[in-house]
């Protein structure tokens, strides 16, 4: 039989293929625009939730540090009043971020370097198990360790029979996955007396230190005394055995001062005459004077100076105050409020893709699916409208692969344009919304790098989504019989 001598068909230059695809877009511009709109809405949705969650995560991290710093006063009051529990000591030894906290443990427990290292090792192991037991549901815990809770569990399992029962029951519980190998837990239980002894030393050290500090209050409250933390009272704290660096002492006394001054200003506000004066100045009823109204009034220099005068007149000790001090107080109060609001708003972040949460991941997935159906439909329309053109191209010698490529490129172009438009839209909306929520806090903690990555990801998803949705329509176009070109409608 005779065969024909085929030369392989050259791949049409990318430029020419792109032009045929682009012409398709131009030729049916309106349909293309509708498709782009569908893609951009879906991508805007995706980008919006991605960007918001990224911003929330960063803000949450920033707020967390600053809130910890805000609670410095509370921490020291607690530290100087009540000795910690064994579990608290273990947690602070296991998780302590700051060197100062570790130093505290060392001085209070009079531990040497080796002992300190050992303490931290054992504590971090113990902490893992404590978390495991606290998260275990009540019934199971009851079966495993009876009524014991927290570190009492370790005490209870010192007993050989109790420990044996524990391990055999744990082995029977098929649905519970223990955090480590059981051998490791056994080892820890054997070492528990050592850890317990360390924590006792720290606890007793701290109890003694607290007594020393309380004895040196000289009839003043702890709060009042802490105001002098940078001076003699700081030395008292240090002598008692706490680790308080001069820098921290200065910081602490400033904070205590601010807390006291803030309280004083708010107390003054409640005095009848002052309340009357504020109401007159604000032109509202005295009953409507609230701390937040007062503080927003005080962020102005003239008003601050006026209020200091009023306080002095009424016998509140504000003689040495400058308006700037009051404005600073107002600012730090506003900031504290902002941080608290940020903490509340970011409580539920985490989980799912880029921390958007399970529910949002699901919603995003569904929106992608709807979008894919929309694109597939639009591409099928495009193929149907261009039936004769496709068939003619095949009569002129186009291969199936070429036709397929043209339609995939067409869809990818739509995906790219829609992806870029949608991503920008979603990003802008997210930034505006987050600006409303976090105000100045947002500008300090904008995750630029992550946002750029998320934008690129979202554009790539747009293109891929369009290309994948166009696979079936493109296949239909490629399989079209060339004889359709002969048909006349």
């Amino acid at each position: 039989m005779k065969t024909i001598d085929v030369q392989p068909q050259p791949l049409l230059g990318f430029a020419r293929t792109l032009r045929i695809a682009l012409s398709g877009v131009k030729y049916r511009l309106f349909r293309a625009l509708v498709t782009v709109a569908v893609i951009s809405v879906a991508m805007a949705f995706l980008m919006n939730i991605l960007a918001e969650s990224l911003i929330k995560m960063t803000v949450a991290a920033t707020a967390k540090d600053q809130i910890a710093e805000m609670r410095l006063v509370d921490r020291w009051i607690a530290r100087l009043s009540i000795p910690p529990t064994t579990a608290e000591i273990i947690a602070s030894a296991a998780r302590a971020g700051e060197p100062a906290e570790i130093e505290n443990l060392r001085t209070l427990g009079r531990l040497d370097d080796a002992e300190l290292t050992r303490l931290r090792e054992l504590a971090s192991a113990a902490d893992t198990y404590l978390t495991f037991f606290s998260e275990l549901n009540y019934g199971r815990r009851r079966v495993l360790v009876g009524s014991a809770e927290s570190t009492a569990i370790f005490d209870r399992l010192q007993d050989a029979t109790a420990r044996e029962t524990f391990f055999s029951r744990l082995a029977e519980m098929k649905t519970v996955r223990f955090v480590t190998e059981t051998e490791a837990f056994d080892t820890l239980l054997n070492e528990w007396p050592v850890l317990r002894a360390y924590t006792e030393r720290i606890r007793e050290g701290q109890a003694t230190a607290i007594r020393t500090v309380q004895d040196n209050l000289n009839g003043r409250t702890l709060m009042q005394s802490l105001r002098a933390a940078e001076g003699p009272f700081g030395q008292v704290i240090r002598d008692a055995g706490f680790n308080l660096s001069p820098a921290e002492a200065e910081h602490l006394s400033a904070k205590v001062g601010a807390v006291a001054d803030t309280a004083l200003i708010e107390t003054a506000m409640n005095q009848a005459d002052i309340r009357q004066a504020i109401a007159a100045r604000l032109d509202i009823l005295p009953g409507d004077v609230t701390p937040s109204r007062l503080w927003s009034l005080l962020s102005d220099r003239d008003n601050a100076a006026w209020y200091i005068g009023v306080m002095n007149e009424q016998g509140f000790a504000a003689s040495g105050w400058q308006p700037d001090d009051v404005i600073a107080l107002a600012d730090s109060r506003a900031r504290a409020q902002l941080l608290k609001q940020a903490e509340r708003a970011t409580m539920e972040t985490g989980g799912g893709l880029m921390g958007i949460g399970q529910r949002m991941t699901w919603l995003a997935f569904v929106s992608m699916l709807v979008c894919a159906v929309g694109i597939a439909n639009a591409m099928l329309m495009s193929v149907t409208e261009r039936f004769r053109e496709i068939a003619t191209l095949k009569c002129l010698g186009a291969l199936d692969g070429f036709i397929m490529t043209v339609f995939l490129i067409e869809a990818s172009i739509l995906g790219l344009v829609g992806g870029i438009a949608g991503t920008l839209m979603g990003l802008v909306i997210a930034l505006l919304r987050m600006l409303g929520l976090f105000k100045s806090l947002l500008l300090e903690s904008i995750p630029l790098g992550a946002l750029v990555t998320a934008s690129l990801l979202s554009i790539v998803i747009g293109v891929l989504l369009a290309a994948v949705s166009a696979v079936y329509p493109s296949l239909r176009a490629a399989r079209l019989a060339p004889m359709e070109a002969m048909r006349i409608e």
Binding site: I4, L393, G397, I488
Partner: protein, 257 residues
């Protein structure tokens, strides 16, 4: 009605045998099955077409002319029987080989021109060349020559909507000639055109046949075609009713008048 003797003259047969057969169909049938309805579009067609011939295919609407074209043009496969183009069995070809055949061997001219709407006249003409692997520069040069041949050199940048039907059909002819095919298949090329423009198209086809030796197979209702073709073929109800040389038919027509 036209009636002719059963057989073509011995002289015609002798002349035909000197030339090579370029298209041969053997027992070609096409059955369309649509639901319960079965259409026998072709009921066994045996025909041989020689190189350099100009054949007119005539027949009433629905007789199977377009179906016949699809089969011998390698656009569709027959339900039964075989088609040989240049002695090659079309059914045996792979997708690439078919594309190659459509690109290089055959030029198609459609009743409704089928130009690509968003391309200029020149781009329409050069598209098959791109599929055939001709370089862009060479394509442009050859494209302009072909547009010159059909008298549209000055309108190379026009898009189909800016051209009359006759001009569009001339561009379509230039496109069909892009890769120097040895066969031109025309399905009612003048059906959508007025008398005068139809004449122009027919003149071009005749010139191509005489000067370049292109085999032309033309489905038509246009009786002017009879004056220029070598042979006429009538199809009725999916079967060849009659094939005759033009001189024989002319004798008949003359005798009727």
């Amino acid at each position: 009605m036209i009636t002719t003797p059963e057989h073509t003259s011995p002289a015609a047969v002798a002349e035909a045998s000197e030339r090579r057969v370029i298209i041969r169909s053997v027992g070609m049938k096409k059955i369309y099955q649509r639901g319960a309805e079965t259409t026998h579009a072709l009921r066994g067609v045996d025909v041989e077409i020689y190189t350099g011939e100009f054949i007119s295919v005539m027949g009433p609407s629905g007789s199977g002319k377009s179906t016949f074209f699809n089969m011998i043009g390698a656009l569709d496969s027959p339900s039964e029987g075989r088609v040989f183009i240049d002695e090659v069995d079309v059914a045996q070809l792979t997708a690439e080989e078919l594309a190659f055949l459509r690109c290089r061997k055959i030029g198609y001219i459609f009743q409704s021109y089928n130009l690509i709407q968003y391309m200029t006249a020149l781009e329409n003409v050069t598209t098959p060349m791109a599929f055939g692997g001709v370089t862009p520069d060479e394509s442009r040069k050859r494209g302009m020559e072909l547009l010159d041949l059909v008298g549209l050199k000055t309108r190379w940048f026009h898009r189909p909507i800016e051209m009359s039907g006759g001009q569009q059909q001339r561009v379509a002819i230039a496109r069909a000639l892009a890769n120097n095919p040895s066969i031109l298949l025309c399905d009612e090329p003048t059906a959508n055109l007025d008398h005068k423009t139809g004449d122009e198209i027919l003149t071009i086809l005749q010139k191509l046949n005489q000067e370049r030796g292109v085999t032309i197979i033309c489905a038509t209702h246009d009786h002017r075609m009879m004056n220029m073709c070598d042979r006429l073929m009538w199809i009725r109800d999916g079967a060849i009713e009659r094939i005759a040389r033009r001189d024989e038919v002319e004798v008949q027509l003359a005798s009727i008048e």
